[in-house]
Every structure is written in structure tokens, then in C-alpha cells.
């Protein structure tokens, strides 16, 4: 049955008899259209809805460009922070034999033409005037006529201000480090022989390895004076030339070529990828113009910036794959809200729309009217959304720094979204307006609406998962991890399909619930009646809210799992927060016991031809400091380590085995063969640094092992390096310090966290869309609710009962959405988390992490939204002017 109210005239669109003739310009110049842009200002609720919807759409569509740019900046920043300040400075480098000037002179010497060309080339392309570094490309032998020693020749502009000079005589020549001067028995004022050439020693300075901390000036040159690889032998003495001419003379005399390096300082704070690319390009042009022959294939000859740019490009390329589809998905969801705003316009303008429709105005013209009326708020909303996206990326994005072009690019995307949004908004408004005039009732649902289309989504999710099983969840390319797009598409398809299917099933159960509710008290009765009566809206709301909750739980679970697994891998490599490693054998002391546990590492053991590492530990202190997760073994660490002290009467050494399948292996350690009794097993054990199996024994039970076993002693501590160094006896030499912060190149894994972070942002955003939809739904139904409430109150419904019914209704819907979304997301997480292996070479595998804080926060937010919207609806109903509401047509 179709109700036509009022009846559409048969002479649709024609001028009726008696009506005045239209002005030139036709129907488009009539007031409904010419005044349209101003009409929306009389409808603040519609303006708000359109501005909000357009802002969310713009925010979604423009965020991707800003996010990718922000991620690139952060990736650069992290890489820069891990290196010395000058590591990324653009560099020109050349090599050549030194020139002879006929002895060291205190007179000014002509500047090297290479330096002039290099400086000119760098400044010509817009880079800063460079400083110069000159050092020998190999060791320079020096002697005092009797003994001799190897040295490394070095010059850098301003070098004499960056050393502690012990003695000095005037003039140019060489400054010897204290150790070298002592070895050659030379003092300031003597001469040193380079081959047959005597070069004046004009000073002696304190060896740089004595300085702690190292001055920032020397940060990039520590390998020249700190031996981080071994304690013996030390690096050659760093002999400093007071001028480049001295260095040239020494080079010529020793026949050791010189490396000339010109370094242009740049500002690295807030460096963006585009700016970095420009600098790399400038450096390459300068190199081409300098005439330097390209003879090198070494890292230092360009500075690290090109490598950083390449890595950043790789990271952002990895991010782009999942981020663009996520942003697109978010934009599509936002378009739904825009469509809802169009429908809301038609509801609020129903009287005028009916009048125009009855006068023969069709849906296309009505859509045009809607577009004209809503254009200004939509544009304002788009600008607001673009600004919001910029602010969100600045406040919450990986980095507040974005490329200069990114906002404009984001603006273009937002403008495109506006155009699509306006077309959709106007279309929905036009069709809805037409529907308000010609309302069809009692029509059977079409067969198409009864088909479970969501099964297609589930089939696509299954296909994604099968494809995912064939590959890796995380793809490693040039050491940079990036998330497989399927790891993003699978959950979205699975969540959407499952949520709709579950909601369809729940909707089928609602009539049963409704029948039961007939015997309940007014509040639950009204709540269930409302939910059941608007099955389509309830189901839509349920699905719309369960999606963001699901995506949020999925994203945060995988982010948490990635980060925790990375932390666990680093913890396993180091053994604790830090490991201070020495080849000496510090005895245990009360001071050390307070800071950490002593572990002796024998990395060169073997059993049955297989390499094996043996860790000799102190069971009393080990569990307090070793990194541990209960998923590493079937038994807790304390129990596992406690088993090492069990007296089983066997002559073998009790051992915990990791990776050895045999029962009781015999391990060759140095000159000894040690029989092991395996008393416990672990899948993963702290201190594992190589793929070899490990055996963990009690240090006192293992006894003395000779030096050929290659023992390292490590202090595993949760304190700082400085504290441990202070607690160590003075004679103990620290070989190196390993910490969890330095195990991984963090930048390589950033894209994994960022991908899921962006997914979570999408979830929060979809949540905003759902809340917007909920408010529009409430607002649209507010009028009928208020009228119903007014009369129900006259019938005896208490305000508290009405509020309870609203709370129950919204809590029922949102609570169910939370449970459905959370449960589905967790199922998806359980299916995929094992594929999230970011470094297969290092145990443990992915450790599933429950995003407890996110789940609690989402639950609290869901409850808060339910309570606030219920309170809003109740307040609106209570404050309404009943007399006005119940007047017909008011």
C-alpha cells in the first residue's frame, strides 16, 4: 500500500493555470534555490551534523599523507639519534699522496687546490662551507731513531681545542698522545723520524681513551682511539698534525696516502625526508662538480644521510601499503556518516521538501537544493577536518614534523573527499526527501535483503588468511620489517563479515526476547521493545560499534605483541637490562650482588660435533636479574634454576638444556670434557646470542675451566652501566657493554608498530563515526521519543524508569557490540599473531600480549558513551515543551 501525502499533481513540473509566468532563468532563479545557501543557518542541528560529518571525512582522507610524512620524519629522527651528530653531514672525500713542502714551516702554505674545489662545489650547491678532516689511510710508522711504533695521523679543523695538552712548544708539527710519547721517549720540542724525515714534536696530549665521557667533537672518530673489539692490542696512537700541510708532509715522508674529507654541517633537528633528499642530491651534485674521482665504495665517503634516506624510504614504502587502504576504509565509513547527515537534512526540512515535491520538484532538484544549502557547512567542516588531521598528527603522530608539501597534499585529498561527500550527501538528501513524500508501507522485504551478503566478506577474509599462511605476516626487506597488507585486510574483512553475520543472527533472536520482555518491568520492557522494534537500526548500530572496538583490540594486541616480543628478544640476547662483559674474572662481592648476577660464558663448547654455549651462573642471584617470561619454559625460572642445585647422586654437572635433544650430553670445554645431567629444559633462555644450543650450569659445580675455552665474564644487571662499573674492582677491564636498547636497530621495526598504531587510530576514528551516527540516530528519533515520553509520563511512567530504560537500551546495544567486537578481534589475533615474527633469527617467537589497558579503556569509553547518550536523550525529553511537541506539524 502506498500513501501519497499530499497527492502529486498529474501535471508534474508544468505551469498550472493561474500561476504567474516564471521569470527568465527558469526555476533555478526561484527563491528555494537562490536563498538556499543561507537557509541552513536556520538549522543549527543540521549545520552541526554536516560540519561534523565533513570534518571526520576530511580528517580520514587527509590523514594518510600527513601520517606517512610524519612517520618518515620520525624514522629519520630515530636513525639520526642513534648516530653521532655529524654522522649525517654531507661529505666529500678524496685520497692521495701527501705533498712535500720541503720541510715543516711556520710560514703560511698554499691551500690545497682540492680543498678549494671541494669547498666551492659544496657551497655552490647551497650547502654550508665545509670543515676539513685529514687522516692517514693506514698506519704511519714513527721512530725516535731507535724504537718505533705505528701511529694514525689525524687533523681536523679546531682539533687543538679538543684535546688536553700536557706540554706544548710554539710552532707547527705533531702532537703525540701520552702513550706514544712515552713509548718513543719523546717530549715537546723533540723531533720524530718518519722514514728519514724529521718532524718536530710540538706537544704531548693526554690519550683520548682516558677521557670519559668522550667529547662530542670526537664522537665519529672513537674507533681511532677506543678499542671496542678487544682489550689488546690497543689502536695505534693518534698523532695530531697542527695543520694540513704538516699532515701532507708526514704523508709524503711515510708514503701513506691521506684521506681528505670535507664535511658540510647541516641542521638535523626536524629534518624531513624531502629535505634530506634535497641534501643528498646537493651532495651528489657537489661531488660531480668537485672533480673528485669516484674511487671509493665505503660508508664514510658520503656521510650516512643517503643510507638513512634509503632506509626511511623503505620504511615509508612499507607503511604506505597498509596505511592507504586503512585511510580509504576510514573515508568510506566517514562517507556513511555524510550520507546520514544528508538523510538528517531531509528529516529536518521535511515540510518544505514535501511542499516542493508536491509541486513537482524531483529528487535531482531536491538533491541540488540540499547541496546548495549544505555546501558552506560542508566546506567549513572539510577545513576543520584538515586542521584536525594536522593537529592530531602533530600531537599524536610519530613525529610533529611533516614535509612542507604534505599539508597541501592532504588538503587536495580532503577536497576530493569533499566533492565525493557532497555528491553522496545531496543524493541521499534528494532520495530521502522523495521518500518522505511517497512513503511505502507494508512492503515485503526483497529477496536480496534476505541474502547473507556478509558471507562474501568472510570468504574474502578466508582467502586473505590462506594467502597469509603461504607468506609471512611481516616481510623483512634489507633488514627493514614491514607489515604484509593481508595482516590488515584479513581482520577488517573478518570483523566486518562476522559482526554483520552475528548481528543478523541476534536480530533474528530479538522477537523472542521481545516476547519475554512483555512480562518484565517497564524499564527493561521499553528498552527491549525499542531495540527490537528498530531491528535494522539496532543491528546497524551494533555492527558499527563492534567494528571499531574489534579493530582497536586487534591493533593494540598486535602492537603490544610486537613491542613486547621485540623487548623479549633484546632481553634474551643481553640476558638482563645490561650485560657488562669482561675477559677478566671479577670475584663476586656484596656490591656486585646488589647490582646484578655474574655469568660466565663459554661460547666455544661442543658436543657431538655441534657447537654449544655454556653459561655458568649463580643460582642464588640469577633469577633476580635475568630477563624472563614464563612462556620461555614449562616451569618458572626460579624452579628451573633451583633444579641445578638438586643432589641426584650423579657425578655429572646438573644442566638446563636449550636446544639439545640428547639426554645427558658430554661437552668439550677447553681441555675438559664435562658430563652434563639435564635437569630441566627451556625453549628460550636469557643470554642466547647465537643460534647454537645452550647449557646452563651452576658456576661452582662446573669448576675451573682453562683459558682455551674462551671464557667471558658478564655482569647482568638491571642498574646502569655506571653503577656496575663503579662496583667492579679497578683492575677489571670492561670489554664492552651490551644493553637492550642497542640490540636492534629500532628504526627497522618502526613501520610494524606504526601500521598497527594507525589501525588503532582508524578504530578510534570509526568509534567517533559510530558515536556521531548514534547521536544522529537519537536526534532524528528525538521528536517521536519526546512525544512518546510525554504521554507515557501521563500514563504513569516515572522519569527514573524512563532513564533506566534508555540506559538499558544503549548499554544493551553498546555492551553487546563491545563483547562481539572484542571476541571477534581476539579470535583474529589468535589466528595471526604467530605470523608476526619480526626477527626469526632471535628467540623467542611472537609472545601474545593482552592489551588490557586498551580493553579497559574501550570498555570504560563504551559505558561512558552509553550513559552520556542516555542522559542526553533523557534531558532532551524532560526539557522539551510538551505542548509544542504534541501539536500537529509543529
Amino acid at each position: 500500500m502506498t500513501l501519497l501525502e499530499p497527492t502529486r499533481p498529474a501535471t508534474r513540473g508544468r505551469t498550472q493555470a493561474g500561476t504567474p509566468p516564471r521569470r527568465r532563468g527558469g526555476v533555478l532563479l526561484l527563491p528555494p534555490w537562490t536563498r538556499a545557501p543561507l537557509l541552513s543557518f536556520g538549522q543549527p542541528a543540521v549545520i552541526l551534523a554536516v560540519v561534523g560529518a565533513a570534518a571526520i571525512l576530511a580528517c580520514a582522507s587527509s590523514s594518510a599523507a600527513l601520517f606517512l610524512s610524519s612517520a618518515a620524519s620520525e624514522s629519520l629522527r630515530v636513525q639520526l639519534a642513534a648516530e653521532c651528530d655529524d654522522a649525517a653531514y654531507p661529505v666529500l672525500q678524496d685520497i692521495g699522496p701527501g705533498r712535500r713542502f720541503g720541510g715543516i714551516s711556520n710560514e703560511p702554505l698554499p691551500v690545497d687546490p682540492g680543498t678549494i674545489r671541494a669547498s666551492q662545489a659544496l657551497t655552490d650547491v647551497g650547502l654550508a662551507a665545509p670543515y676539513q678532516v685529514v687522516d692517514s689511510d693506514g698506519s704511519v710508522p714513527m721512530s725516535n731513531g731507535g724504537g718505533n711504533t705505528l701511529t694514525h695521523l689525524f687533523y681536523r679543523d679546531g682539533v687543538q681545542e679538543q684535546i688536553s695538552v700536557l706540554s706544548r712548544v710554539p710552532g707547527d708539527g705533531l702532537l703525540l698522545p701520552g702513550g706514544t710519547a712515552e713509548r718513543l721517549n719523546l717530549t715537546a720540542g723533540d723531533t720524530v723520524l718518519i722514514d728519514t724525515t724529521a718532524v718536530p714534536v710540538v706537544g704531548v696530549y693526554d690519550d683520548l681513551f682516558n677521557e670519559s665521557p668522550v667529547r662530542p667533537y670526537w664522537c665519529s672518530y672513537t674507533t681511532l682511539f677506543l678499542n671496542e673489539a678487544s682489550v689488546d692490542p690497543p689502536p695505534p696512537g693518534l698523532v695530531i698534525a697542527t695543520t694540513t700541510a704538516v699532515a701532507e708532509e708526514v704523508s709524503a715522508a711515510s708514503f701513506v696516502p691521506l684521506l681528505h674529507t670535507w664535511v658540510s654541517p647541516i641542521e638535523t633537528d626536524g629534518l624531513t625526508l624531502t629535505e634530506a633528499r634535497v641534501i643528498v642530491d646537493q651532495r651528489d651534485r657537489a661531488f660531480a662538480a668537485s672533480g673528485i674521482e669516484n674511487r671509493f665504495d665505503r660508508r664514510g665517503d658520503t656521510g650516512l644521510l643517503p643510507e638513512m634516506v634509503d632506509r626511511t624510504t623503505l620504511i615509508t614504502d612499507g607503511l604506505r601499503g597498509p596505511v592507504i587502504p586503512i585511510a580509504l576504509g576510514g573515508s568510506i565509513l566517514a562517507l556513511l556518516l555524510v550520507a546520514a547527515a544528508g538523510s538528517y537534512w531531509a528529516d529536518r526540512r521535511v515540510r518544505e521538501v514535501r511542499l516542493l515535491s508536491s509541486r513537482g520538484v524531483g529528487p535531482v532538484a531536491l538533491a541540488g537544493k540540499a547541496a546548495l544549502e549544505l555546501a558552506i557547512p560542508a566546506i567549513a567542516g572539510t577545513v576543520l577536518g584538515w586542521l584536525l588531521a594536522r593537529w592530531l598528527i602533530k600531537a599524536l603522530g610519530p613525529s610533529p614534523v611533516v614535509d612542507a608539501s604534505a599539508p597541501a597534499q592532504a588538503g587536495l585529498t580532503a577536497a576530493l573527499g569533499l566533492v565525493v561527500g557532497m555528491v553522496l550527501l545531496a543524493s541521499v538528501a534528494g532520495l530521502r526527501a522523495r521518500g518522505a513524500t511517497e512513503r511505502t508501507i507494508g512492503v515485503k522485504r526483497s529477496w536480496a535483503s534476505l541474502l547473507p551478503w556478509e558471507l562474501l566478506l568472510l570468504a574474502a577474509a578466508l582467502a586473505s588468511w590462506l594467502q597469509l599462511r603461504r607468506g609471512d605476516g611481516v616481510v623483512i626487506e634489507k633488514n627493514v620489517a614491514r607489515v604484509n597488507l593481508l595482516l590488515v585486510s584479513f581482520p577488517l574483512l573478518f570483523l566486518a563479515g562476522s559482526a554483520i553475520l552475528i548481528v543478523r543472527l541476534l536480530a533474528a533472536v530479538l522477537p523472542l526476547l521481545r516476547r519475554r520482555a512483555g512480562r518484565w518491568r517497564p524499564a527493561p520492557y521499553l528498552a527491549v521493545s525499542r531495540v527490537a522494534a528498530s531491528r535494522l537500526i539496532s543491528a546497524g548500530l551494533l555492527a558499527a560499534v563492534s567494528m571499531p572496538i574489534g579493530v582497536l583490540v586487534y591493533g593494540s594486541a598486535l602492537t603490544g605483541t610486537t613491542e613486547y616480543t621485540l623487548e623479549a628478544k633484546a632481553g634474551v640476547v643481553v640476558g638482563s637490562d645490561i650485560a657488562v662483559i669482561s675477559v677478566d674474572r671479577p670475584a663476586g662481592s656484596a656490591a656486585l650482588d646488589r647490582l646484578g648476577t655474574i655469568v660466565a660464558r663459554y661460547p666455544y663448547g661442543s658436543t657431538d660435533g655441534q657447537d654449544v654455549t655454556v653459561l655458568a651462573i649463580d643460582p642464588a642471584t640469577f633469577p633476580d636479574y635475568a630477563y624472563w617470561d614464563d612462556r620461555f619454559a614449562a616451569t618458572p625460572l626460579a624452579e628451573l634454576v633451583g633444579a641445578l642445585s638438586a643432589d641426584d647422586g650423579s657425578p655429572g654437572v646438573n644442566a638446563i638444556s636449550m636446544g639439545i635433544s640428547g639426554e645427558n650430553p658430554t661437552v668439550a670445554l677447553g681441555m675438559r670434557d664435562v658430563d652434563m645431567d639435564v635437569v630441566g629444559r627451556a625453549d628460550t633462555f636469557p643470554g642466547r646470542r647465537t643460534p647454537d644450543p645452550m647449557l646452563i650450569v651452576r658456576a661452582d659445580e662446573l669448576g675451573e675451566i682453562d683459558r682455551t675455552a674462551g671464557r667471558f665474564t658478564e655482569i647482568w644487571s638491571t642498574s646502569t652501566e655506571a653503577d656496575v662499573r663503579e662496583a667492579l674492582p679497578e683492575e677489571i677491564r670492561v670489554l664492552r657493554v651490551q644493553s637492550t636498547d642497542t640490540v636492534f636497530r629500532v628504526a627497522n621495526f618502526l613501520s610494524v608498530s606504526w601500521t598497527f598504531g594507525y589501525l588503532q587510530a582508524l578504530a578510534a576514528f570509526v568509534g567517533a563515526v559510530a558515536i556521531g551516527g548514534l547521536l544522529l540516530y537519537l536526534e532524528t528519533r528525538q521528536r517521536t521519543r519526546v512525544a512518546s515520553y510525554a504521554l507515557a509520563r501521563r500514563m504513569g511512567l516515572k522519569p527514573a524508569s524512563h532513564l533506566r530504560s534508555l540506559i538499558l537500551e544503549l548499554t544493551l546495544l553498546l555492551g553487546l557490540a563491545f563483547v562481539v567486537g572484542g571476541a571477534l578481534a581476539w579470535s583474529a589475533v589468535l589466528v595471526v599473531y604467530r605470523m608476526l615474527e619480526i626477527d626469526p633469527t632471535r628467540p623467542p617467537g611472537p609472545l601474545l600480549t593482552v592489551p588490557a589497558i586498551t580493553v579497559i579503556a574501550a570498555a570504560a569509553a563504551t559505558l561512558a558513551v552509553a550513559l552520556l547518550t542516555a542522559a542526553y536523550a533523557q534531558r532532551a525529553a524532560s526539557r522539551a515543551d510538551m505542548a509544542e511537541v504534541l501539536r500537529l506539524g509543529s
Partner: protein, 228 residues
């Protein structure tokens, strides 16, 4: 004010609105008395103040001046405190709960008043009498406007209220259903209740015991003079 056997009496009721700069006199010192067992037609053109008078009587609007008093069993009460069993309404906008079926809407007053039995048999009888029993399981949106209006009438009559205030209760009815509705009103007033029916349809005036006409906020006894 001594109202005796009068159910409700209003004296000097005045109500003005401000619509932009214009001052609208909705009620001008209206005097009104309603007695048990009478069906009163409140007639007048649109905008004459009929709905405003009904709103003042049911307590949704307050008069700027004048006095309103309830008599008999309702003596000393305020309009807004009266229950559905004492004062029932049939508003222009109907105010049906869209989430309840037609049957549930009719029986809702009984349910909320704790009279579950009324929600069953009496509701069914009323729905049958106004021709909507077959729509009991439909939602209001699945019924025609006329059917919705009869649902609203049945809901108002369910608890046999002392007074019914109805605003254009037959606006969407044909002659047959108009007669059915007024028959239902007459059955109610037979039990000592009073019905005040706002209507501008002269065909319905014949069902009334008394006619009050309104014009520009003024209330007069009798039908308005026919327009020339």
C-alpha cells in the same frame, strides 16, 4: 472557587505568546466549566486557541492569568498530577510509542498503572470497537494515519478516565469511524466522565451535548456564526 459538581472550571484564563515582534493572544479571559456526563465540542478555526486551552487544562501550559480548579473526586489536585485514569489525552500529534505495537500502545496505560488485566481483555474490546483489533501486532508505522488515530482514542479510553481532552480526534476519519469514535466517547460519559473535544469539523458538532466556540482566543457558548 467553589466548583460543586463541576469536574473542572476555569475563570479568566489568559495566555499570550510572543512570536517575534508580534503578540499573540491565544486565550482572552476564558471562562469554562465542564460537568460530569457531558460531551463538549470546542470548535473554531485553526489558530483560534483551542489547542492552547486544552494544553492549559491538562497542565502542559500555564495560563498567564486566571484560575483553574478541579472538582468532585479531583478537587484540590493539579492538572499535571492527574493520572491517565483521571485525565486522558488525545493529542494532535498522537504520540504513539513507535517501538510498541498497536496492541501494546493501547494496553500501555494499564501496564504502567499496574492494571495488567486492563492491558488484556479491555484493550482488546476497545480495539475491536474502534476497528483496529486486527492491527494489534503491527507497529504504528505499519498502520494508516486514521488507524493510528483510533489506536490513540482506544488508549485514552482504556482506564475509563474522568476527563478526556481530545484535539481533533477525528481529523483523519471518515464518517463511519467518526461515528464509531463519538459513540465510544458517549459510552464513556455515560459512566460520569466528561469529554472536551477540540474540532473544527462542523459534521461532528451534532455528537456534542454542548458547543463552545473559540475565536481569536475568546470563548463563547454555542456554535460560531456561519461565515458569510
Amino acid at each position: 472557587m467553589n466548583v460543586g459538581v463541576i469536574v473542572v472550571a476555569g475563570r479568566g484564563l489568559t495566555k499570550t505568546y510572543r512570536r517575534n515582534a508580534e503578540r499573540v493572544h491565544a486565550l482572552r479571559e476564558v471562562d469554562l466549566s465542564l460537568r460530569p456526563g457531558e460531551l463538549v465540542a470546542l470548535v473554531g478555526p485553526s489558530g483560534s486557541g483551542k489547542s492552547t486551552l486544552l494544553n492549559v487544562l491538562c497542565g502542559w501550559e500555564r495560563a498567564d492569568a486566571g484560575a483553574l480548579a478541579w472538582g468532585g473526586e479531583l478537587a484540590g489536585r493539579h492538572a499535571e498530577d492527574l493520572s491517565w485514569g483521571e485525565l486522558a489525552l488525545i493529542p494532535q500529534a498522537l504520540g504513539l510509542l513507535e517501538d510498541l505495537t498497536v496492541g501494546e500502545n493501547v494496553s500501555l496505560p494499564g501496564r504502567l498503572a499496574g492494571q495488567a488485566d486492563r492491558g488484556g481483555k479491555a484493550a482488546h474490546e476497545l480495539m475491536t470497537s474502534v476497528g483496529i483489533a486486527h492491527l494489534a501486532d503491527r507497529y504504528p508505522r505499519q498502520a494508516s494515519l486514521g488507524e493510528q488515530q483510533r489506536c490513540c482514542v482506544a488508549r485514552a479510553l482504556l482506564l475509563r478516565p474522568k476527563i478526556v481532552l481530545a484535539d481533533e480526534p477525528t481529523a483523519h476519519q471518515d464518517a463511519h469511524w467518526t461515528e464509531v469514535i463519538f459513540t465510544a466517547f458517549r459510552q464513556l460519559i455515560g459512566t460520569g466522565s466528561v469529554c472536551l473535544i477540540a474540532t473544527h469539523n462542523p459534521e461532528t458538532w451534532g455528537y456534542a451535548d454542548r458547543i463552545l466556540s473559540m475565536h481569536d482566543g475568546e470563548l463563547r457558548t454555542g456554535a460560531p456564526a456561519p461565515a458569510r
